[in-house]
Point group: C2
Chain length 165, copies 2
C-alpha cells in the first residue's frame, strides 16, 4: 500500500481506518464544520492527530442521539489554536451530562412501568411518563423528528372506561 509512512499527520484514509468512520463521512463532517484539516500543495487533506479524539467524541455523542449540529456547537467550545487539554475535553463533555441523567431516569421509569402500564389502561399519552419524554432531549429515533413538548394532548381517559380490555 502507498502512504504507509509514519507521519505526524493523518491522511483521510488513515483517519478513516483508525477511527472506524468512512472517508465519505469524514468529508461530510468537515463540510458540516465538525472537524477541519489543512491541505497539501496537491489539495489533499491532512489531519492533526488530535482529530482522532474529535472524531471519537463525535461518535460517542452520536450514540447519545445528539444531532451533528449540536455536537458541532459543543466542539466549538474547544480552544482554537492550541491542542485541547483534558480539562477542555471534560468541559465539553460536561455538556451532555444533564441529558444523560435525564435519559437514564426516563428509561428507568419506563422499564419499571412498561408492561403494566401498556396493558392496564393507564397508557395515557397525556399522563404517562412513557409517552412523554420530558424535557430531556427525547431522541425521537430516526428521521428528522425530535419530540417537542406540544405533543400528546388529551387522549385516552375515555378509552379506559370504554374498552376495559
Amino acid at each position: 500500500m502507498a502512504h504507509g509512512t509514519i507521519s505526524r499527520e493523518l491522511t483521510i484514509g488513515q483517519l478513516a481506518e483508525r477511527s472506524g468512520v468512512a472517508p465519505s463521512a469524514l468529508r461530510f463532517y468537515e463540510d458540516s464544520g465538525l472537524i477541519d484539516s489543512r491541505r497539501t500543495s496537491g489539495n489533499q487533506r491532512r489531519y492533526r492527530r488530535e482529530t482522532l479524539r474529535r472524531v471519537a467524541f463525535i461518535r460517542v455523542s452520536q450514540n447519545l442521539g445528539i444531532p451533528l449540529a449540536e455536537i458541532r456547537d459543543a466542539l466549538a467550545l474547544l480552544p482554537n489554536g492550541r491542542t485541547p487539554t483534558p480539562e477542555d475535553w471534560a468541559a465539553v463533555s460536561e455538556r451532555w451530562r444533564g441529558d444523560l441523567d435525564a435519559r437514564i431516569h426516563q428509561l428507568t421509569q419506563l422499564r419499571d412501568h412498561l408492561s403494566g402500564c401498556i396493558g392496564c389502561g393507564c397508557l395515557s399519552l397525556r399522563d404517562c411518563a412513557l409517552a412523554n419524554p420530558g424535557d430531556a432531549l427525547a431522541e425521537g429515533g430516526p428521521g428528522a423528528r425530535r419530540l417537542t413538548r406540544r405533543e400528546a394532548a388529551a387522549t385516552d381517559d375515555e378509552a379506559q372506561r370504554e374498552e376495559p380490555n
Copy 2:
C-alpha cells in the same frame, strides 16, 4: 365544527387529536402496516378505539429509538380478531425489556466515565464502552444508520503516546 358526534369509532381527525399524532403520520403508519382501519361507504377511515392504544404503544416504542419496522413486527404478535387483553399488551411490551435494560446499563456506564474518559486519553474507539454501543440496539440517532459491530477497528493507542495532551 362538523363530526362532533360521539361514536364508537374514530375518524382520523379524532384519532389524531386524541393521540397527538398528525393525520399524515397516521396514514403513513397505516401504509406501513402498523395500524388498520375500516372504510366507510364513502372511503373514509374509521378506527376502533383500541387503535388509540396501538398508537400510544407506537409512540412509546419510538421514544425508545425502535424503528417502525420492528414495532410493526411486535404489534403483529397481538391477536387478530379479538381486542387485545392486558396480558397481550404485556407480552408485546416485554419485547423491549432486554433492549431497555441494556440501554440503561450503557448510559449509566457512559455517564460515570464521560468526562474523565474523553479527556484522559482512554477514549479509544476500540476499548471504550462509550464508543462501543454493545449488542443493544444502539439507537444510532437520526438517519438511516444503526451502528453495527464491524465498526471501530484499531484506533487510538498511539494517540495516547503521541499527543499526551
